[in-house]
């Protein structure tokens, strides 16, 4: 009944990610190879000897026909073998693996910050609709939403690390508290945009809900106002929140590249950036594939959780 069709929807939606991933990694493959010019030449520079170029061709597998390269690429990727870095010789998957925790921590704390600040403020904004507080909050969140995150990062850096040296400007830190300390400014940077979006969504969501017919029914049943607000209205309001967070995660990854650079943090973003400057193709490729994978998975989770919260979706 209710449970079974939900299950079917889960399966169907999960399977849909496969063609999407497939399409994405194909695009990545061809983009990196169809670029004009010889990649080996780009890496080695114009002064390279023909032998060195040929050698690099062999190492990179560029001497085989493109279709063969593609198939090898596919089989490698599925097995998780992204090759070796052209510069450090280290396994790409190894480097990715090392970078993940840092970026993950950043993402997690950013989202936590956004939720802790954004959701309550959004609810309060709805409760205090049309008061001065609400208006001020709306304008502030509009501005926070519009301001580019890397600029927020730079401003925060200047304000709280240079002018008023409270927080460190570079690095990751040691130990749990230490790491948290170093995460404060970067998380606020990334989190404020998401928080602002959350405030707006929670607020408008709650306001929409309060006017719904079933809220009137709940009141007619003699249910205390507290329950009406926090059970009936809130529950339905939370639905777009999950989507908002999910949608913003893609932006988070893009932002991670710049933010990790600004705050001197290691992580996937920093790794990708370094590799791009060094023309370290295997690493760049690995990073891109990983990034798209993360985005696809996150989108999947968002859709699934949305359908859990909103029983109507999986019925269609």
């Amino acid at each position: 009944m209710g449970g079974y069709s939900l299950f079917k929807y889960f399966i169907r939606r999960t399977l849909l990610t496969i063609p999407t991933m497939f399409l994405c990694i194909t695009i990545i493959f061809f983009c990196l190879r169809i670029v004009p010019g010889d990649p080996a030449l780009i890496i080695l520079g114009n002064q390279a000897t023909p032998e060195a170029v040929k050698e690099l061709h062999k190492t990179m597998g560029l001497d085989a026909p493109i279709w063969q390269q593609y198939l090898e690429f596919l089989s490698d990727t599925i097995q998780g073998d992204f090759g070796k870095s052209l510069y450090s010789g280290k396994s790409v998957s190894q480097q990715l693996f090392e970078g993940i925790p840092h970026t993950f921590n950043l993402a997690l704390t950013s989202i936590l910050f956004a939720c802790v600040v954004g959701i309550p403020l959004g609810i309060v904004s709805a409760r205090k609709h049309n008061t001065l507080f609400d208006d001020g909050l709306r304008v502030t969140s509009l501005i926070a939403l519009a301001a580019p995150s890397f600029l927020i990062g730079i401003f925060l850096l200047i304000a709280f690390s240079v002018k008023i040296p409270i927080f460190p400007s570079m690095g990751v830190g040691e130990g749990f508290l230490g790491k948290l300390y170093y995460l404060v400014l970067p998380s606020i940077t990334i989190g404020s945009g998401i928080a602002a979006a959350l405030v707006r969504f929670m607020s408008s969501s709650m306001l929409d809900e309060i006017n719904k017919d079933y809220i009137r029914t709940a009141r007619a049943k003699g249910i205390p106002e507290k329950f009406v607000f926090y059970k009936h209205a809130l529950r339905n309001s939370l639905i777009p929140v999950v989507t908002v967070i999910g949608l913003n995660i893609t932006g988070l990854l893009s932002g991670a590249v710049i933010i990790e650079r600004i705050f001197g943090r290691p992580g996937l973003g920093a790794l990708a950036l370094e590799a791009i400057f060094a023309r370290d193709f295997p690493v760049v490729q690995g990073c891109l594939i990983l990034f798209t994978f993360i985005v696809v998975i996150v989108n999947l989770l968002v859709d699934l959780s949305y359908s859990l919260l909103n029983p109507k979706i999986h019925q269609s």
Partner: protein, 307 residues
């Protein structure tokens, strides 16, 4: 059975009420200027945008100094009568550079958005209008493009293709296409099934004609909103890319470039990064607020396509 009513009595005072009530209903207005005017934030942002545009257009006449002329002896100067915002690491006048940077940012943003929106809207209209397999394939491709973190993708391509402005424009516009396509597709789907399109078809209108005369005018409104919102996005992306070093190359001043230069000296002279940063923030916020206000006053018939 409901009591039958008729308003055949023109002398009745209540008849006039019906007439006035009918006048109050909003017609099919393309753009509700009145509502927009009431949105103070929107009006404010419009003025800010116009200000920046004027700055860009009249840059050559307004700039106090040549943005490229170096004066090493006078580097890192603070605010002075000579240099209103001081000088940078090469002794160049910061204010002039910011003004000139406005022009670059706006031109790049405008071209990119125009290109991206045109292609995006075309794709969206085709997908929405044709439907079926064409729609599915196109939307799948759009999904795939959307999955890529734009900046990373742009970084990679810029690395291999070189730093040219044209490359920059093309790459960023590709990132814009899925969003525009979605909106255009949504609007097309809304209109495709409407009565007047069916009527036009039955009268033998060619598909192209229908698209041009019926669909385009109706999505023009959402097009405008998309353009403004995306302008701010593109300016941000371009600045971000320049900041990372793959945007427009120095010594041409773009805000992103300037922030990048300033970032190296952030501990000693933070204002170098701060001033262009503030300019950028103000313009981007203004564009976003303007787009919001625009969206609010556009004909409510246009539905916004959410994911």
């Amino acid at each position: 059975m409901q009591a039958q009513l008729s308003n055949q009595d023109p002398n009745s005072s209540v008849g006039n009420d019906v007439k006035s009530a009918n006048k109050k209903t909003k017609g099919n207005t393309f753009f509700d200027w009145k509502t927009f005017r009431q949105n103070r934030l929107g009006m404010l942002s419009l003025f800010v945008i116009v200000f920046f545009v004027l700055l860009a257009v009249f840059a050559h006449w307004i700039m106090p100094h040549d943005p490229l002329s170096q004066d090493i002896l006078n580097k890192f100067q603070g605010i002075s009568k000579e240099h209103w915002l001081g000088t940078d690491l090469n002794g160049r006048d910061v204010l002039s550079r910011i003004i000139f940077g406005t022009r670059i940012s706006l031109i790049v943003a405008f071209c990119t958005v125009l290109l991206g929106a045109t292609v995006g809207f075309a794709v969206g209209i085709i997908a929405g209008y044709k439907g079926g397999l064409v729609d599915d394939i196109l939307m799948r491709i759009m999904d795939a493009i959307m999955t890529f973190p734009l900046i990373l993708f742009a970084l990679m391509l810029l690395m291999v293709l070189g730093n040219g402005v044209t490359t920059l424009v093309i790459i960023i516009s590709i990132g814009m296409i899925p969003g525009c396509a979605r909106i255009a597709r949504g609007a097309t789907l809304d209109i495709k099934d409407s009565e007047f399109v069916k009527a036009a078809l039955s009268m033998g209108s060619s598909h192209l004609r229908i698209v041009l005369t019926h669909i385009l005018p109706n999505i023009l409104a959402s097009l405008l909103v998309v353009l403004t919102m995306n302008m701010s996005l593109v300016i941000m992306v371009e600045a971000g890319l320049s900041f990372l070093g793959v945007g427009i190359s120095p010594p041409t001043p773009t805000w992103g470039n300037m922030i990048r230069d300033g970032f190296t000296y952030i501990t000693t002279k933070p204002s170098l990064a701060l001033y262009p940063g503030i300019a950028l923030t103000i313009l981007v916020i203004a564009l976003n607020l303007f787009g919001d206000a625009l969206r609010d006053s556009v004909d409510p018939h246009i539905k916004r396509q959410k994911k």
